[in-house]
Symmetry: C2
Subunit: 367 residues, 2 copies
Amino acid sequence: MSVRLPTASATVTIDLGERSYPIHIGAGLIAEPHAFDAVPASALAVVVSNTTVAPLYAEALMRTLRARHRRVELIVLPDGEAHKDWATLNLIFDGLLRLGADRKTVLYALGGGVVGDMTGFAAAAFMRGVPFVQVPTTLLAQVDSSVGGKTGINHPLGKNMIGAFHQPVAVVADLDVLATLPPRELRAGLAEVIKYGPIADADFLAWTETQVDALLARDPAAVTHAVRRSCEIKAQVVGRDERESGLRAILNFGHTFGHAVEAGLGYGEWLHGEAVGCGMVMAAALSAKLGLLAQADAERIARLIQRAGLPVRGPAFGAPRWLELMRLDKKAEDGEIRFVLLDRLGHALVRAAPDTAVRAVIDAHCA
Amino acid sequence: MSVRLPTASATVTIDLGERSYPIHIGAGLIAEPHAFDAVPASALAVVVSNTTVAPLYAEALMRTLRARHRRVELIVLPDGEAHKDWATLNLIFDGLLRLGADRKTVLYALGGGVVGDMTGFAAAAFMRGVPFVQVPTTLLAQVDSSVGGKTGINHPLGKNMIGAFHQPVAVVADLDVLATLPPRELRAGLAEVIKYGPIADADFLAWTETQVDALLARDPAAVTHAVRRSCEIKAQVVGRDERESGLRAILNFGHTFGHAVEAGLGYGEWLHGEAVGCGMVMAAALSAKLGLLAQADAERIARLIQRAGLPVRGPAFGAPRWLELMRLDKKAEDGEIRFVLLDRLGHALVRAAPDTAVRAVIDAHCA
């Protein structure tokens, strides 16, 4: 299939047996009908987007999709993490029923992580499951959230608490759309790019260090490599542990601290990537504090995150509130918080940590 | 495992590979710890029930479960189909987070179809999936809804529109609890028992005809056989088509008409089993109208449903409204309603029908 795509495109495959699917990465793919060849040609397609992205790209995508679907409709959601909730999810269900959607209808998520997570969960639950396609328009969604089938919404007490594992039938990452991404969102996306090196690939970490300025300047060659390598690493991990019974949890490096920031400040106050950036600094520091990682390596990660323009200090919740927020993390078991830690650059593990060490890291890294 | 249960108990297995599970059927099983041997022994168990059933049976079940779980908690929902919605589902999520539930927490659905469907969907979606056990307390739930992994909630525009396939780890059907079932609910449950004969087993249909009075009188031997044979037939169908890509749809005999009654009158006005009873009369009549089934056989089904004390005439929505309501059925494709029809007693098929024939059936069967 990839041979039919523009020559500069790359395809990474998520290998999950019958549920395998391609991630196509390249410039201009939203306008490229062959990028959607893996999608069933249903009568009705529904594009779900938000008030920011829809005016920019919905029409172009819908024009392309009319080659596959007799009818292509659009549902527009409010923008932002604060809307990743029941009420907004219901807007999708209401729209689908109003449009006469059935079990064959294909949903297309056109937007960032929030649109992708919510559309994916809507696809998982509507009539107990319909196919969906991820068309990520943020760097964060292209390198992380659109890949791997995690879908869901937030609960006031915790991030992504309600959701499903529901794999898309294809991911189409059009690099051209990153041109309109606000700088703050670009930096937030870089956090998830940076994540892959420390947990899985020390060479990629070194590459990221040399390319961080090029990435911030949206250099096409650098961005293409970053998206592709990130998707390759994620594909390997997800292919080995789709439902996070073990290995997959390492993809949550920085997320235990990060989710606490998001829940504690209220969703949307910090961008997810900003919270993860700061969270990785803290998780690396905790790894060093526990003697798993050299202090110099933890500092190297912190420096890279700072150079990417991401926060390296957390909110001053105070340690008790931090711990309370982190106990609601989905990795927690029987009240014990489990952290993704590094035992060397390029390798992560999941384990509990003594409260005293966690408190010391919080005290040292939060204003 | 079944050898450890009281001698009068029966076990039917749902064969789904790694997701296989037992259905234990017998008197007194709520108080029998071995009935729950298939359940993981997590630290926390949460029983979800409703305001009607919890006062009767929650304490007995929780006492039994304390042998398997360090902590056993209870969430009580309002009773009735009208509450099978987002707001009530959220009461479960709120409760789970308040109780400190995690990915290992086991949910127990103690109640009828509404409690089972909602608890199952909550288990499917909470932290993207936790294990759950069905402890059905109505005849309808014991013979149908607790078995097979269909979970979900209603949308104002359609029954069970939002949900998941999520198999329980065990079903424990205690026949003693049927003693407190109101007569109207018993009759509603009989509708689903009656369903299995026409679609899959003409001998069971004949048995049901001889035993309908014994079943209405709650004769233990008759009820035991009815529950067991119903579960066996459902297990066979679900084992061959878990996600309803084909065969499984026959279990919806009477449900296309029935769901229209429920949605058109408002959920809870008729019991689900009442709507299905009337729906089976109409579906059998449509089968005869289309020349698939002998008129005498359609009348035989109608007579049995009437003897069970179930409605055999539908609400006077008028044919246009009936058709509009049925187009929202999940079996519909591209606006075409698909009916479960009989081509002989003991065998069903799924197909579309001309509007004229459907209208004639509606006109003949609705006051």
